[in-house]
């Protein structure tokens, strides 16, 4: 029956008779007090141990990058030539790079930007992609064609010249309006999000094509649900599978994309140690100082892992086909 495949190893397939609505033998005892949908979703989420663990891990990471620099007082750009390329030690828990700068401090500081950019860019790409994909998927004819033309346009754009152009046009204005750091941040999130929404849109649209012909949607329509309601309450929750996968992949891609931008001189200044940047700086020293590359790589990997399991948990929590 529906939901016979568990979505998480700590999940259990529903017992056969416990909640059969036809079991009228003891209706009074089995009626539960009314619960809001949000609380219901949270309860379901909590059932997946892996998802909860991942959420905790992610919160720890966020706490470390937010509060860490306040507690670990070593400067991120203290150049110390006597301590170059040293492995992990008490003074430098994650080792040092080739200018003797402390990697732990740099990772904490850069983590703020990496995580913030990763999450923000991913959210932007997902939101825009889902919006455009749903509109295109529900409508037909002209609207769909126009939106797909737009998608194809963005897919064909050569990223680098466009980046150069956008940054050259908007950098100063954003800096003036929001201050140098926030301005650059907004610009980078916008730029990365701009290039990652198209796959999401097409995936969502494809899902919509197949879902909107299904019986439950027809039933909803027959009951008088407006298009918006059909989309939001019925189709969208079922279309989320690929969106969540795209979300995980986008976080990793956004963190790396930020470092590519910085490498091209278009992102944050070169001395800001985002995780992708540290990974890039360490590549020529892989055989000399593997620790330099290991830690940022591990950090990105952990973040991606955590977000993925949270996504799995979310999908199951919000899945309307689940009975439990």
């Amino acid at each position: 029956m529906a939901g016979s495949t568990p979505a998480s190893p700590s999940d259990k397939p529903p017992a056969a008779s416990a909640v059969s609505p036809l079991n009228s033998a003891a209706p009074a005892q089995n009626v539960r007090p009314p619960v809001s949908p949000a609380a219901e979703a949270w309860r379901r989420f909590k059932r997946h141990r892996l998802a909860v663990v991942s959420l905790v891990v992610l919160l720890i990471m966020v706490a470390m990058v937010v509060f860490g620099p306040l507690l670990w007082k070593v400067a991120i750009n203290e150049i110390d030539f006597t301590a170059r390329l040293k492995g992990p030690s008490l003074a430098h828990p994650l080792g040092t790079d080739d200018l003797g700068q402390d990697l732990f401090a740099r990772m904490l500081y850069g983590g703020r930007i990496s995580l913030a950019v990763g999450m923000a860019a991913m959210l932007m790409a997902i939101c825009v992609g889902v919006l455009i994909g749903s509109i295109a998927g529900m409508s037909r004819g002209a609207v769909d064609t126009a939106l797909m033309w737009l998608t194809d346009l963005f897919l064909s754009l050569p990223q680098l010249p466009l980046l150069l152009l956008l940054i050259y046009l908007f950098r100063d204005r954003l800096k003036a309006a929001f201050g140098p750091e926030v301005g650059v941040f907004i610009m980078i999130v916008f730029v990365i999000g701009c290039f990652r929404w198209m796959p999401v849109a097409r995936l969502v649209r494809a899902q919509f094509f197949s879902l909107r012909e299904k019986e439950f949607v027809e039933a909803a329509r027959a009951l008088g649900a407006s298009t918006t309601r059909q989309v939001v309450r019925h189709i969208l929750p079922n279309a989320l599978g690929p969106v969540i996968v795209a979300g995980t992949i986008d976080v990793a891609a956004a963190i790396i994309a930020e470092s590519t931008l910085s490498f091209l001189g278009l992102g944050f200044p070169p001395d800001i140690p985002t995780w992708g940047r540290i990974l890039f700086d360490s590549k020529d020293y892989l055989d000399i100082a593997a620790h330099w590359a290991l830690f940022p790589g591990l950090a990105i990997f952990l973040a991606v892992l955590a977000i993925n399991f949270i996504g799995d948990g979310l999908r199951d929590a919000l899945d309307p086909r689940r009975v439990l």
Partner: protein, 596 residues
């Protein structure tokens, strides 16, 4: 360094008391080039040394394939259209000039029989003409004979504005006459002490008249031989894929005996410097790699494998920082960094002095460049005997702090110095380059300790070095407080190097920021000295003037030389090359061989 001292030195060389090579090295250290030093000696009648040949192989060919890596691949093979040294090197495999510069600044004949001098009648007494005698019996790769007509044609081709040749500057003001089938005379409108420009080195490659004649002028881009070069060089053309690969095979009719050693040559492009270093030094897949701009630490580790070695050839390139004497953030008449404004901090000589003390050249050399760079405060290494005043470099944060305190720049609550309400926060820009970003980090830290805050900015090289009028990030615009890059001595003669400090060359909106004086430095005495040097026939007097001008620039502190950067190449242990810091890498290609 007075003119008298220079003449004394030359006398010492003539009398044999001072080795020629030492003299050349000393001139180089004062900011001149080896070719200039060599010309000085020649003018004074000191004959050029006969360089003994170290070429060992006793027969032509049999050496197998020579594989070289140029991580910026050649995009065209016509030397007069070359957009950069990579194209010149690619062309140089097939084409040759009359003479090339070797590492000691000597002229070595290639297609000429001997180097013109006063003794053999090649140089006229009034300095207005040079007569070159061409080698007889040289043929182009297609069998046609090489004659004086080809030289005359090459000059006409380059001179024609419709051809849009990049070498036109060299041939614009010279007249080339054919004296007989194997003799030409190059005439200048006025006496020219540095006469070795036409038909020499990279700009002097000669193209065949019988193939290019129908394509002179406006049709130059259609010549099929633009892509299929036919030259006189040691290798014949086989294949060319722009940006990727150039291939050549042995020229069995090459005009020098027992050369070339290799049966074929392959020049591969693409990738980056670090992987090029790996391919030569670690895996041995390639025999030679160009321009290894990699940290020395990494290079040393790669050499440890024992397959290849790093070759360092000194040349005239200097990495320096420029301090902007104008205000980059105020717009006047539609331009920033205008000469009508003044920088609030860098017009104060005390600040400039402090900045010079804050550049830790020694650490930069030791920990980043290693063998591939030499810390400098002048335009190259200084031997003690010829130290001009104020050319020692010092790194002293305390002294810098004292100077700034004394000049009225007091530290505020946030640790940043200020005066008159303006904080010492500077924007420091350079191109995207791992090594440069590390230099920036080092300078930034030192400045932080002195109460100066630097905001680092890196601009992608293609934009930074462009001349795009609309882009605010080019180095010509200098829309920031400090910038850093390497200036290359691309010409053997220093005159075109020194004109970048003239007042009339100041880069501004009026000349679309094409002016060569990017640091916007203006000094009347300098301008006067330059004009005197332009008209000076005596190369020794001229050299003395250049040295004085050099000192003027450094003393004023607007330009802070950091590191002199020799050329860094990688080669297989068994490969014997003939590299020169004053000409192309392939200037001696016919003499390369592999030891057994």
């Amino acid at each position: 360094m007075q003119e008298r001292d220079l003449r004394d030195l030359i006398e010492n060389v003539r009398e044999g008391k001072l080795p020629r090579r030492s003299f050349i090295q000393q001139m180089v250290s004062l900011g001149l080039t080896a070719p200039m030093a060599s010309m000085m000696l020649m003018h004074s009648g000191v004959a050029q040394a006969q360089v003994p040949s170290t070429y060992k192989p006793t027969k032509r060919g049999g050496g197998g394939a020579l594989k070289v890596l140029w991580w910026q691949g050649a995009t065209l093979l016509q030397p007069h259209f070359a957009a950069g040294t990579k194209d010149q090197e690619g062309s140089r495999i097939f084409y040759e000039p009359l003479a090339v510069w070797d590492n000691d600044g000597n002229l070595v004949p290639v297609l000429a029989t001997e180097i013109p001098s006063r003794e053999n009648g090649g140089l006229s007494a009034d300095g207005k003409s040079v007569t070159w005698k061409l080698k007889k019996g040289v043929t182009w790769h297609d069998g046609q004979p090489f004659t004086a007509d080809d030289c005359v044609f090459t000059a006409d081709f380059a001179r024609d504005p419709a051809s849009a040749a990049v070498t036109s500057g060299v041939y614009k003001d010279v007249k080339v006459d054919k004296v007989d089938s194997h003799t030409i005379r190059v005439s200048f409108s006025k006496a020219t002490p540095f006469w070795a420009t036409a038909f020499v080195a990279a700009e002097g490659m000669i193209i065949p008249k019988h193939l290019f004649a129908p394509y002179i002028g406006g049709k130059s881009r259609e010549a099929p031989n633009n892509l299929k070069p036919v030259g006189t060089g040691p290798y014949k053309f086989v294949e060319f894929k722009p940006g990727d690969i150039v291939r050549g095979e042995i020229n069995n009719n090459y005009h020098m005996p027992n050369r070339p050693f290799f049966d074929s040559i392959e020049m591969k492009g693409g990738g980056d410097a670090a992987s090029a270093a790996r391919a030569v030094l670690q895996t041995g897949e390639y025999d030679y790699a160009w321009n290894l701009q990699v940290e020395d630490e990494v290079l040393k580790r790669m050499e440890a494998g024992g397959k290849g070695r790093v070759q360092i050839v000194s040349s005239g390139d200097i990495e320096f920082i420029q301090l902007n004497p104008t205000d980059p953030f105020t717009e006047v008449d539609g331009e920033r960094s205008s000469m009508k404004t003044k920088h609030f901090a860098f017009t104060d000589p005390a600040v400039r002095q402090a900045m010079a003390l804050l550049a830790d050249r020694k650490s930069i050399q030791e920990f980043i460049y290693g063998r591939t760079g030499i810390a400098t405060s002048n335009f190259l290494n200084n031997p003690p005997r010829f130290r001009s005043p104020n050319t020692s470099f010092e790194f002293n944060i305390d002294k810098a702090n004292q100077i700034l305190d004394g000049a009225g720049w007091k530290k505020g609550a946030d640790g940043v110095r200020e005066k008159g309400g303006k904080k010492m926060k500077f924007v420091y820009q350079t191109s995207v380059n791992g090594i440069r970003q590390k230099e920036q980090a080092i300078v930034k830290q030192a400045c932080q300790k002195a109460g100066i805050e630097l905001e680092l900015k890196s601009v992608t090289a293609a934009v930074f070095f462009s001349s795009d009028v609309a882009n605010p990030d080019t180095y010509g615009k200098f829309y920031c407080d400090m910038q850093m890059y390497t200036t290359t001595m691309t010409q053997p003669d220093a005159e075109r190097f020194m004109d970048q400090y003239l007042t009339k060359e100041i880069s501004a909106k009026a000349n679309k920021w094409q002016g060569r004086n990017i640091c916007r430095w203006s000094n009347d005495e300098y301008d006067k000295a330059f004009h005197a040097a332009e008209g000076e026939l005596d190369p020794v007097k001229r050299a003395a003037l250049f040295i004085r001008m050099n000192d003027m620039v450094i003393k004023d502190g607007v330009v802070l030389p950091l590191i002199s950067r020799p050329r860094v190449r990688g080669s297989n242990l068994k490969l014997v090359t003939r590299l020169s810091g004053w000409d192309l890498d392939f200037a001696g290609l016919q003499d390369w061989y592999r030891e057994v």
